[in-house]
């Protein structure tokens, strides 16, 4: 295990040449803020936040990508939440840069980030009531 990684996050090594990522961890949804704080303390940068709609399984996945500025070390933290009530705590209190990524993920998937300071439409029109990246979205 890489010493730069916080030991309490269950990271698994990933084949970088095949995947483009060094470590990957699947954690519970209520542990995300804690994991973000640990990675912040370890000097990681939040790359982006990605939602994935697994409609058949009734779940929404969130992928938080992090990288380091000093060396090639990319890690992803994933969690899944129920699709019919997609709600998860915001990490914008840890990484201010998460604010816009979470607003965008809310736009596209309808995932509510609890505690977010301003979860208004970011890229979609201000009166948008739809979430285009949900797999059941019909234009």
């Amino acid at each position: 295990m890489n010493p730069k990684l916080p030991p309490s996050i269950p990271f698994q090594p990933v084949d970088y040449a095949a995947k483009g990522c060094h470590f990957d961890a699947v954690i519970a949804a209520d542990k995300v803020v804690e994991a973000a704080a640990l990675l912040d303390g370890a000097g990681f940068v939040l790359d982006t936040i990605t939602g994935v709609d697994w409609m058949a399984e009734g779940q929404m996945e969130l992928v938080y990508d992090f990288f380091r500025l000093e060396e090639a070390l990319r890690v992803a933290v994933r969690t899944r939440i129920p699709r019919d009530n997609p709600e998860i705590a915001t990490i914008s209190g840890v990484y201010p840069g998460a604010n816009w990524h979470e607003r965008e993920t809310h736009d596209f998937f309808g995932i509510r980030f609890t505690g977010h300071p301003d979860l208004t439409p970011f890229l979609l029109p201000e009166d948008a009531t739809y979430h285009p990246l949900r797999k059941d979205f019909v234009a």
Binding site: K19, D47, V63, A76, Y95, P96, W100, F108, L123, L133
Partner: protein, 375 residues
């Protein structure tokens, strides 16, 4: 009208909202900023994004990988080569395609030409923001030569779609190789002229020095990359830290300036043009012979189930792609991580308390491309 508490004076100050954009000559493209002002001072500058949002990521989910490829030239339209590079890179990684060395070298050469042309647009537009009209004409004169060169091999002046899954659309010709050498030779004295004309100009320096300081820590917290973070003294460049393609075979520097002000970000880009010229020259010297497409790229491309990432150093910073495949012909999810979004996200914090014209200088020094934010 809202009021803010101005310390140490107890009387509440009256503020007003100044709407900048979305159609405004100072904002380049359709960015709107809602500025709460206390006289000439910025209390809060809130960017309002999405005016040219096209839902690129949805388009990624309803067409094949090859069909989505042209979209990647239309995200950051000034740095189209690099965006396409990240997309094909992720697919090549997933499909285990071996891209021929000649194709990789040409990718590096064309990406660096594209970086220079992008920096030239920024240079001209930035100086236009600051009130200097003439430099734009010089910049576009030099940029025109790059566009002609790239048009010769790609057929397009901005939206190249030149990199294909497994290689390139076509090989470069003698005219391109000769013209590129000529351009490198011409551009070096032009950079010297740029320096004498603008960089050492006292009015210009007074507009930028110490203006809009951004700390390395603020860059880290917001995920700002590219010339923004290198202007805060951090030598983070994807080409150096996480080398892709054949960049590790090139001798070049990732210039940094520690001051963190608008001048530092300016100097980073100017130095980067010189470094890109070095890379292009080395690429031309070392260009191997051979094919420019991988063998046996399947006509119907299905990636194995899983996630695949690829990041490149675009002209504005780290551009990343994450593809989620469920084994079908059409991607399950295409995530595009654009540098302009993260670079702009620190503007509200960085511009607080600044004079309006200084805040605009800061915004110009971020080198924003709005379709890169809105996607």
């Amino acid at each position: 009208m809202t009021t803010v508490q101005a310390s140490p004076v107890e009387t509440p100050r009256e503020t007003f909202v100044l709407n900048l954009g979305p159609q405004h000559p100072a904002t380049h493209g359709v960015l709107r900023v809602k500025m709460t002002m206390d006289g000439e001072y910025v209390v809060r500058a809130e960017p309002v994004c999405g005016y040219i949002h096209r839902m690129q990521e949805k388009m990624g989910e309803n067409r094949t990988y090859a069909q989505f490829l042209p979209n990647t030239s239309r995200i950051d339209y000034l740095s189209a080569m690099t965006c396409t590079h990240a997309f094909v890179g992720a697919i090549e990684r997933a499909a285990k395609l071996r891209v021929p060395p000649r194709a990789e070298y040409i990718r590096v050469i064309t990406s660096e030409l594209n970086r220079i042309s992008s920096h030239l647009v920024w240079w001209g537009a930035f100086l236009l923001d600051l009130g200097g009209f003439t430099p734009l004409l010089y910049a576009f004169d030099d940029r025109e030569k790059i566009l002609d060169l790239l048009e010769g091999i790609t057929g397009s002046r901005l939206t190249y779609s030149y990199y294909r899954i497994g290689g390139l659309y076509n090989d470069v010709d003698e005219a391109f190789l000769k013209g590129t050498r000529q351009f490198v030779a011409q551009m070096r004295p032009r950079l010297k002229m740029y320096r004498e004309l603008v960089t050492e100009n006292i009015i210009f320096r007074k507009r930028l020095e110490g203006i809009g300081p951004i700390s390395a820590e603020m860059c880290r917290q917001y995920g700002a990359t590219g010339p923004v973070i290198r202007g805060s003294g951090v030598a983070y460049d994807v080409r150096k830290i996480e080398p892709y393609s054949v960049y590790s075979e090139f001798d070049f520097m990732a210039p940094t300036f520690p001051e963190g002000d608008s001048k530092a970000r300016y100097l980073v880009r100017m130095e980067e043009i010189a470094q890109s010229l070095r890379i292009i020259e080395q690429g031309l010297d070392k260009l191997p012979a051979g094919p420019v497409m991988a063998e046996k790229v399947p006509r119907i491309l299905k990636l194995p189930v899983g996630d695949y990432c690829y990041a490149v150093e675009a002209a504005r910073g780290r551009f990343g792609v994450r593809i989620v495949s469920d084994g079908k012909e059409i991607p399950y999810r295409v995530k595009l991580r654009s540098p302009s979004l993260s670079n702009l996200s620190l503007f509200e914090e960085a511009s607080r308390g600044m004079l309006l014209p200084d805040a605009l200088a800061l915004m110009g020094s971020l080198d924003l491309v709005i379709p890169d934010i809105d996607r």
